[in-house]
Amino acid sequence: METRRAEFWVPYRLIAPAVALEAGLVIGPLLVGFWYSLHNVRFFQIRSFVGWDNYMRVVTSPEVLGSLAATAIFAFFSLILTFALGFALALWLERDGRSATLMRAIVLVPYMIAMLVGSMLLKWLFSQEAGLSQLALGPLGMGDVSILANPKSAMAALVFNAMWRDAAFAMIMLLAGLKSIPPSLHLAARVDGADAWMRFRRITLPLLRIPILITVVRLLIHFVNILTFPLILTGGGPGNSTEVVVLRMFRLGFQDHILGPANALAILVFLANLALVAMLLLLFRRAGRL
């Protein structure tokens, strides 16, 4: 009896340090941030309680609204293109063999290196000084166009950055799903005379539904919260054309030091994420992992 009572607390003692760390550094900041978002804050000092004023200021600010539009455009195109490329890579590199293994590793390199470094290398690739864009666009009569100085092409460069880095992530997630499809299904369909397209439509797609949804939601969460790509590659410019919402929040908090509105925006971004994460959890539950 004595030992059993002692045993009861063992798992709680084992998880206590982990729970404490998460509570302190993930939940704690959110509570503090929420508290600050309800106040007028000057130079890290809370001045006065202002209720929802900061939230009103944030949601009516033209800069924030503009940044929401930029985020939507970026996330939409990045999601479609990154997913499509990742899926194509997964199907192409699914088979065993040395060349497929090597190619999978090569595709993963942009994903493995620091986002900062990746964006820096692309900034150099796209910059006018490197001369590569001039060399490529010159024959089209656009030789003196700087890719990063035009709002549309700067956004396109940002989407390219997303594809270049994150297609590998989509690929790995979908490869894991593809591996779980028993090869006998494809074999049987083949015997019955189904061609490759038919097998893809009737076997691969339906059986991959949940992995596809999970990949899409995880990519979406990642793109909605993007900071490093625009901070390094475009600096949010030209003008504010590529200033996404997290970059706006970053600038409010860490460059302008307006902590009240910055925390209000952070809490709003967090709530938006919560909705996406809830979606993800539902998908996991359906996938039968939890």
Binding site: L30, V32, W164, I226, A287, R289
Partner: protein, 279 residues
């Protein structure tokens, strides 16, 4: 017969061409950055650009090391190593509890683990900075270690939980019968059997901590706590349009990651799907 042969050959050539295209897409930006970093300053912006440097030089690499790069790299190594150790220690305890005990709150804990894993760090930055400044942990290496551990702990718990489940429970039962406490069993029996799992989880934290820029740039301001990626970011302002040192620093930061990746790739991919996809 020759037709079949020619057909196979054509297929092979097509496959090779597609693979070459994929490789070019993935590696060209890195390769171009590397080649440019070897050119003397006046040749970097030469037009039309030359792919291979004419007189390769290491001057830009020498320059960043003259500008304190070694100190920032040491900071990065220290912070990364400490984060790995702390995360593995806490992750092993919690992962073991979930894998081997049934207790009230276990399901909630597992759902919260996945939920916290999915919360993007970006949405936490401003509040976290607010909290750290209030507690004096802002602008310290300790603060970074705690944050990196907090952010990677859910993934590590999940990975180690999966690994512990795959171990035979009989050995542990034997240890328990012999009078080992659960914690002692974990450290003396389970962990020594879990090296591959620990390596995979540790690598995950290591790469995250080594690569992180966003957390470090927001939570630190002085040079004493500056990690290498933040240093690269500051080089961007410091060197302005001087691409030589910037590219050299970028390449230096890539080298250890690529080295780890080449030697330990096997361990790696298992972590990416963590919180996973397949049943």
């Amino acid at each position: 017969m020759t037709d079949v042969f020619a057909h196979a050959l054509r297929r092979r050539a097509a496959r090779l061409a597609v693979n070459a295209l994929i490789g070019l897409f993935a590696l060209l930006p890195i390769l171009w950055g590397f080649l440019s970093s070897l050119k003397p300053t006046d040749k970097i912006v030469e037009f039309p650009p030359r792919l291979l440097p004419e007189n390769p030089t290491l001057e830009h690499y020498a320059r960043i090391f003259a500008d304190n790069a070694a100190y920032f790299i040491a900071n990065s190594i220290a912070v990364s190593a400490a984060s790995v150790l702390l995360t593995l220690a806490l992750g092993a305890l919690a992962g073991y509890a979930i894998a081997r005990f049934r207790f009230p709150g276990r399901d909630t804990l597992m759902v919260s683990t996945v939920a916290v894993m999915s919360i993007p760090i970006a949405s936490l930055l401003v509040p976290t900075f607010t909290l750290l400044s209030a507690t004096g942990l802002a602008d310290t290496r300790l603060g970074l270690v705690l944050l990196y551990s907090a952010y990677q702990l859910p993934v590590v718990v999940w990975m180690l939980y999966g690994y512990f489940l795959s171990l035979p429970v009989e050995v542990e039962n034997a240890a328990r019968v012999d009078g080992c406490s659960p914690t002692r069993t974990l450290f003396k029996v389970v962990l020594p059997l879990s090296k591959p799992g620990l390596v995979a989880a540790g690598l995950f934290v290591l790469v995250f901590a080594w690569n992180d820029f966003v957390v470090a740039v927001t939570m630190t301001s002085s040079e004493s706590a500056r990690t290498f990626p933040v240093a690269i970011y500051f080089y961007l302002g410091f060197y302005g349009r001087e691409w030589g040192p910037l590219l050299a620093a970028s390449i230096v930061s890539i080298v250890p990651i690529v080295a780890i990746f080449v030697f330990l790739q096997r361990h790696f991919v298992s972590g990416l799907t963590g919180g996973g996809v397949k049943g």
